[in-house]
């Protein structure tokens, strides 16, 4: 009797032990899943790794911007003081207003906005037409034209800049802001061929049935493009607009070449002029670095502020658009 009971008991404990062991195993597995994930890319360890990489890279990208803002708000004493690195003791606006004046900010910011806006709008329209033609339409010598497009993409602007200056002078457009805008009307200008390529890639991803339906309805290509395809291309338009605006805004090479010594120049050119003259002053040691640097920082900040605001406003649409552009097939 007792032996039987013992047997049952021992079996029972065995079972329980086994059960506990199994439970342990389950727990271990749970912990392992939580840490490493069922697949490697949804575990905790991997996520921490991702955050580590992203945070450090973000720091690299944001740090100079923050430093710029901090430096321009410091007064001279804080800049020399080695104990003040990040938080200035007082907010000093002197550098900002000095930079504002030297840049002739109100005037040059308006010039920059007008030029960049016009160029961006023209790029959106003209590159769209060309991109659609390359993606879907037939025309003679299409292959050769495509090779020309690639050539246009890789030609450095420096190759064509001298004759362009001469041509503008011949047309009486030298030192005129018009010379910056005209090429965009035809799909050229700052990285224009890249925008044509972006549009082309976008239109290639659209279903062909749309065109066939339009053809049956007897719509002409232009009507169809304006009514259907162009409105469909919103993601591509956003990407092109933002790129074009920002790159034209930042471009100093073309304006410096075309505008030469003109009085009214875009902001980026004013900025680079200011930077160079401050550098010269520092080299001639007529101005100590701790005075010149904050002014430069303030000017840089004023220069990138408008595109930065535009980006902050547009970035949600932009980030989404990038995914939907189908930039390349």
């Amino acid at each position: 009797m007792s032996t039987k009971l013992d047997l049952v008991k021992s079996k029972w404990t065995l079972k329980r032990g086994l059960g506990r062991k199994l439970g342990m195993k389950n727990k271990v597995r749970k912990v392992r899943y939580a840490l490493l994930g069922r697949e490697i890319n949804n575990g905790l360890v991997f996520k921490l790794f991702l955050y580590a990489i992203f945070l450090s890279t973000s720091y690299i990208y944001i740090q100079p911007v923050l430093k710029m803002v901090v430096k321009m708000l410091m007064n001279g004493k804080d800049i020399i003081d080695p104990t003040v690195t990040w938080i200035p003791s007082t907010l000093y606006m002197g550098h900002l207003s000095a930079a504002w004046e030297v840049l002739k900010y109100e005037k040059s910011v308006i010039i920059s906005i007008i030029v960049a806006l016009l160029v961006a709008v023209f790029h959106c329209i003209s590159c769209g037409f060309a991109g659609y033609a390359f993606a879907r339409l037939e025309f003679p010598f299409k292959r050769i034209a495509f090779v020309l497009l690639l050539v246009a993409f890789i030609i450095p602007p420096q190759v064509v800049v001298l004759p362009s200056i001469l041509a503008y002078r011949w047309a009486g457009l030298d030192n005129s802001l018009v010379s910056l805008v005209i090429p965009a009307l035809f799909g050229f200008g700052v990285k224009g061929s890249l925008f044509v390529i972006i549009y082309r890639q976008f239109f290639m991803t659209q279903p062909r049935e749309l065109e066939e339906a339009a053809k049956i309805d007897g719509a002409s290509a232009i009507k169809f493009y304006l009514k259907v395809m162009f409105p469909l291309a919103k993601p591509a338009i956003i990407v092109v607009f933002l790129f074009s605006f920002v790159w034209t805004w930042n471009d100093t090479y073309m304006p410096r070449m075309f505008l030469g010594g003109a009085e009214d120049v875009p902001l980026a050119v004013q900025m680079s002029r200011l930077g160079q003259s401050l550098d010269n002053l520092m080299k001639a040691s007529e101005m100590p670095a701790y005075l010149a640097e904050p002014i430069k920082m303030a000017a840089s900040f004023l220069t990138i502020l408008p595109p930065l605001l535009l980006y902050l406003f547009a970035q949600r649409y932009f980030v989404e658009s990038v995914e939907r552009t189908g930039l390349v097939e």
Binding site: L50, K67, F129, A133, V159, L162, I222, M271, E329
Partner: protein, 290 residues
């Protein structure tokens, strides 16, 4: 019947031509004409007179004097090339990595994406050069870990020591140049269907294998595109040493045109070498897989 088909075709051709016409006109005016004209100028001594220009034919004089009679071109172009060769793979690998990681599902990834596109706004402007001059470009880790003496030991006295040190020193700058590349890779990553990954997972492939067998081959057209973009971007960057050379050249139109044409040819040769290398590499890889 035949006539109508023909008519339809010419009609379509006509419509297509109408779409492309502005671009072609622009190409003629803003590219083809200046390109040929600068070629013409490079063989001539251009004199600017008050009301006209005078062109005296000088043959290959400028080309000869740039290529064989002075070392100014080589002095600035060789270090630049070495730096570019080190920089290009770093940019490509970094941006591919970031794009793939950004594609993971993660809380706050939209914020990170917004931050990672910031370089697109800065990287073309004068502001970036400001940052670089400020010393923001250096992490200082070469000095901190005494890597440079180690590098000196490994590389010896070869002319590559300096460019590699430069790139390592300005590593942050390299990251600043990868904005557009990250965007292109990210857009490219969207073209790979999720089902490919699912079936690979069911077959029990490890993430490592999935990367090499699915992600990388599918991304190869984007790698090519980014390769071309990076090369073009680096070489047309207005603050690189050759641009300085062109900018403050001897002021003569003919001389500058010759210089620019030589530079253009160098870019084309460099691009074709890079492309050849890329084709070789990808063919080798696909051969190995088979």
């Amino acid at each position: 019947m035949k006539k109508r088909i023909l008519k339809g075709k010419t009609m379509r051709n006509l419509e297509g031509s109408l779409f492309i016409l502005p671009w072609l006109l622009g190409f003629m005016a803003f590219l083809a004409f200046p390109l040929l004209f600068s070629l013409y100028m490079s063989f001539h001594n251009v004199k600017v007179l008050p009301f006209q220009m005078k062109y005296d034919y000088v043959g290959f004089k400028y080309f000869k004097s740039i290529l064989f009679e002075s070392s100014a071109l080589y002095d600035s172009i060789i270090p630049f090339f070495q730096e570019a060769i080190v920089m290009i793979p770093v940019i490509l690998v970094f941006s591919l990595l970031i794009a793939i990681l950004l594609n993971q599902k993660l809380r706050g990834r939209m914020l990170f994406r917004a931050i990672f596109f910031l370089p697109v706004i800065f990287s073309t402007g004068y502001v970036l050069t400001e940052f670089v001059n400020q010393g923001e470009g250096s992490l200082g880790f070469l000095e901190r870990y005494e890597l440079s003496s180690y590098l000196n030991m490994v590389l010896g006295d070869s002319s590559w020591t300096n460019p590699i040190k430069q790139v390592l020193n300005r590593f942050v700058l390299v990251l600043w140049f990868s904005g557009v590349q990250i965007i292109l890779f990210l857009a490219g990553r969207q073209t790979i269907s999720a089902s490919a990954y699912e079936s690979a997972r069911i077959d029990g492939a490890s993430p490592w294998e999935v990367f090499w067998k699915i992600t990388l081959p599918a991304m190869s057209p984007f790698i090519l595109l980014n390769l071309i973009y990076t090369v073009v971007d680096l070489f047309t960057y207005p603050f690189n040493p050759i641009m300085d050379l062109i900018g403050n050249g001897q002021g003569s139109y003919g001389y500058n045109s010759a210089l620019v044409w030589i530079y253009f040819m160098i870019i084309i040769i460099f691009l074709s070498v890079v492309l050849l290398f890329y084709v070789r590499l990808s063919r080798n890889r696909s051969g190995a897989r088979r």
